[in-house]
């Protein structure tokens, strides 16, 4: 195949991967700390994206600037959701939590369907169509910006986890719940904070995705499987894994579409997911069980 | 020898949980495996019953090499274990729990349930057959573990601390039950910390410390074995005694 096309596919894949990494990092944090498989992750992203959409169309707020609003709002939403619903209702059992987050995702998706109707929406800003030359291809500026910001946010999150007291507390709870409680860490508060951060990343991701994607009430499905694949591939709870996993998944989708066509190309992600679970469920960087 | 364990070694990371352990169990006996906490007793059980892969060694049961066989096959061959931390079928009743064991021997429901009831009577649980297992006390759960395993009509029962958490009268009851089980033809290998029970029940005792078998013999032999005492009370305790004796002797000389 023409090297230009291959290069374009590679670049596209990596840029896409950056997005997936950001979406997945919230999921991997939530799993790593709370051991919850947050099935509602996709529908939360969808909600956030609608938020960005309306911020632009109703209030004229640029999607990238909207991060200032979306991130704290999603954080608070996540914190409250944990305290009010998930923490209280799951009765501790692993499978119950999965079912509850499934229930939530159904609920959220269909409330959105009721409110916003089923059509897709896209946004366009002044720089939507500006192209930047990157090697042999032309890349839309928003994609590039989104990629750069996504990686910067992942790095920031990583630093936060490593360098701050709160980050250390979160990592302690993730590693050893009982021990953390014994040294005086308020574990339940850490759970709520972690869930909040997990959703806050979605707030940021929504701002970065809206300029290059579309939103409709059902896109949650799409992102859930992708996010899970990234997390499982990279290893539940591992940030480095989310980065590497995101890139691999992005490239797979890009090359899948290239070689197998629009429709069949989507199969790559599901196949990766299946293969990882069958062969190496702990993922590339996850803790060996 | 009904059960012959030879040179069994189990390594976790850098830790030798079980180190070249060998032991034998004669048919129709009650044999005890004792040792200080952390000695590796439950790990040894898990290896023998097929729950953990061995790093080295061999397990022979009824003349057959069962090393590495899957758990359920070993259970079907007649070796059934109970768990130190009880694992009841929580949402099933006591009767149903025991019936699962009974279904090993009887595929007919009526027969399995009748057998389960008989076993329940044997271990003194007949009055709680309809109770959900999740509502049992610790003592009840221990008894349920025992009953469930017994219902499979095993040749060899591996009992892991079945008396832990029981009060003295419950312990006496269990001792009688275990004796009766043996008298009915089931061989018993038990891990136990309740010393007087071990002494009164066992025909033969193996002692495990830091993963190694350090002694074996009749209860009397084991109790007077210096290495065993040291394992439990710490090295130097017998040496101190000797010094104390010598000093006392010197003083009184």
């Amino acid at each position: 195949m023409d090297p230009t096309i291959l290069a374009a596919a590679t670049i596209n894949g990596l840029l896409l991967g950056g997005m997936y990494t950001l979406v997945a990092s919230g999921l991997t944090l939530i799993y790593g700390v709370l051991h919850i498989i947050n099935f509602a992750h996709g529908s939360m992203l969808m909600l956030a994206m609608f938020g960005v959409f309306y911020l632009l169309t109703k209030f004229g707020v640029d999607p990238y600037l909207a991060m200032v609003v979306m991130v704290p709002v999603m954080y608070v939403f996540g914190y409250a959701l944990y305290k009010g619903v998930i923490g209280k209702l799951s009765n501790g059992k692993d499978e119950n939590i999965l079912l509850i987050t499934l229930g939530l995702s159904i609920l959220i998706e269909n409330v959105a369907l009721m409110l916003f109707k089923g059509d897709s929406r896209t946004i366009s800003v002044s720089y939507s169509d500006r192209m930047i030359e990157l090697g042999p291809t032309l890349v839309p500026l928003p994609k590039l910006i989104s990629f750069a910001v996504a990686l910067a946010l992942c790095a920031a999150l990583g630093l936060f986890m490593q360098r701050t007291d709160l980050g250390r507390a979160i990592r302690a709870v993730a590693k050893e719940r009982v021990g953390a409680r014994l040294v005086g860490i308020d574990v339940d508060r850490i759970f709520a904070i972690s869930y909040g951060i997990g959703l806050a990343t979605l707030g940021a991701a929504a701002c970065l995705l809206m300029p290059i994607f579309y939103v409709s009430p059902t896109i949650g499905h799409v992102f859930v499987l992708v996010a899970f694949t990234v997390v499982v591939l990279g290893g539940m709870g591992s940030f480095l894994g989310a980065v590497v996993g995101g890139m691999i998944v992005g490239l797979t989708e890009s090359f899948g579409g290239l070689y197998l066509g629009e429709s069949l190309g989507q199969i790559g992600i599901s196949l990766i997911f299946i293969l990882i679970l069958l062969l190496r469920p702990s993922g590339l960087f996850g803790a060996r069980q | 020898m009904m059960l012959q364990v030879t040179g069994l070694t189990k390594i976790f990371g850098g830790l030798r949980a079980v180190d070249n352990a060998s032991l034998g169990v004669d048919e129709g006996r009650i044999v005890a495996l004792i040792g200080p906490n952390g000695a590796g007793k439950t790990t040894l059980f898990a290896c023998i019953a097929g729950f953990l892969p061995l790093n080295a060694g061999r397990v022979e049961f009824l003349g057959r090499d069962i090393t590495g066989l899957p758990v359920h096959e070993i259970a079907r061959a007649g070796m059934v274990r109970t768990f130190q931390i009880t694992q009841p079928f929580a949402k099933l009743t006591v009767h149903e729990n025991i019936a699962v064991g009974a279904y090993q021997k009887f595929s007919n429901r009526a027969q399995a349930w009748a057998h389960a009831q008989a076993i329940a009577e044997q271990v003194g649980m007949a009055h709680m057959l309809a109770q959900p297992a999740s509502e049992l006390t610790v003592a009840g759960r221990k008894r349920l573990e025992l009953a469930r395993a017994l219902a499979t009509s095993p040749r060899l029962l591996l009992l892991d601390e079945v008396m832990a958490g029981l009060n003295p009268s419950e312990i006496l009851e269990i001792i009688a039950i275990i004796r009766q089980i043996r008298d009915n033809g089931v061989t018993v290998l038990l891990i136990e910390h309740v010393m007087h029970a071990v002494m009164s029940l066992s025909d033969h005792i193996h002692v495990l410390s830091y993963g190694k078998i350090i002694a074996e013999g009749s209860p009397q032999q084991v109790v007077s074995n210096q290495a065993v005492v040291e394992a439990y009370l710490g090295r130097g305790s017998t040496a101190n005694d000797a010094e104390a004796d010598a000093a006392a002797g010197a003083t009184h000389a």
């Binding site: 369907l113 499987l225 429709s263 599901s270 997911f273 679970l277 | 694992q87 929580a90």
Partner: protein
């Protein structure tokens, strides 16, 4: 997730069957008969999920894989090979069982349990959806249309009531199967596996083999559901028969009604079909019924984890009953 292995009294079975048989004669309107068909349909495919998810404890998010395979297998046999549509039932059962078996062997050999198993079934269903969407043999994204030719020998009925009795028979069979599980050794072993796999193994149960068996059975039932669906609606496409919605509905119906019980799926199906029809009649708002289902699921898991059937049970026992 469930109650005990207590058999359901025959009187109850006969009563429910009698009501079901009489129903379309008491309420002969097209609307009501359709309601009956849909309720029984969801009870049937819900029971399929219930057998592997409720009885055996293997939570699945991808049951639609067996459903869709059944729908496509029977439809393709009919359209491309001219087989009688009635043969579609055994064909779809086999297809569903085959896929169930393959997924089970792969997943359980790899030791997948709980949430991981749920997610991998989702991925398998997705793969099937994508493949059928992309391949011309299955009609691709356009799906397959079964030509209307109403006649009993063609497994199509001019009068809905024909379909009603077919699905009633299927649903009754699934209830019989569930009842058999309650009374049989196999069912007791599945319950043991659900509650504690290690203990089950220690008592001599070949956990892997039994889990595969239950997925074969569950797959077969879902497959037959797919065949029925195809004959009733005369149109299938990848999104409808492999989309995640059906998986969710199968799960919802069982969990809300009572996973691991014999009539849980029927109770759940009646509720869901009612909600669906009522919301559709009262409002034009899309998605309202699913909002209600989602909320119900959350509420049930939180406060009534044994499902709605528990409400009936609690009324029978005296308050604070002693064992």
């Amino acid at each position: 997730m469930t109650s005990t292995l207590k058999p359901v009294p025959w009187a109850l079975h006969l009563t429910v069957l009698a009501i079901a048989v009489v129903f379309p004669f008491v309420f002969p309107s097209s609307f009501m008969v359709n309601f009956g068909v849909m309720a029984l349909f969801y009870a049937f495919i819900g029971q399929s999920w219930n057998i592997s998810g409720g009885f055996a404890g293997q939570l699945s998010f991808g049951h639609v894989a067996f459903f869709g395979v059944g729908a496509y297998a029977s439809t393709i046999m009919q359209l491309r090979f001219g087989w009688s549509p009635w043969l579609g039932l055994p064909v779809s059962a086999l297809a569903g069982a085959l896929v169930g078996g393959v997924i089970a062997v792969l997943s359980f050999r790899a030791g997948l349990k709980g949430s991981y198993f749920a997610l991998i079934t989702l991925a398998f269903a997705e793969v099937l959806r994508i493949v059928t969407n992309s391949v011309s043999f299955t009609g691709g994204g356009l799906g397959l249309l079964i030509p209307m030719k109403a006649s009993a020998t063609n497994f199509q009925f001019a009068e809905r009531i024909g379909f009603y009795f077919v699905i009633l028979m299927l649903a009754a069979l699934s209830v019989a199967l569930a009842e058999w599980l309650r009374r049989s050794r196999f069912g007791a072993q599945l319950a043991a596996i659900r509650e504690n796999e290690d203990s089950a193994k220690a008592l001599g149960i070949n956990v892997f083999r039994e889990k595969v068996k239950v997925m074969l059975i569950s797959g077969a039932i879902s497959g037959m559901g797919g065949c029925f669906f195809a004959q009733y609606f005369l149109y299938i496409d990848p999104l409808v028969v492999f989309g995640v919605d059906k998986s969710v509905e199968m799960l919802l119906v069982s969990m809300i009604g009572g996973a691991g019980t014999v009539y849980g799926p029927l109770v759940g199906a009646l509720l869901l079909a009612s909600i669906s029809d009522i919301t559709r009649v009262l409002t034009q708002v899309q998605g309202l019924s699913l909002v209600l289902y989602g909320s119900l699921l959350v509420v049930i898991i939180a406060y009534l984890p044994n499902g709605l059937i528990d409400l009936f049970k609690r009324r029978r026992k005296p308050a604070g009953g002693q064992a």
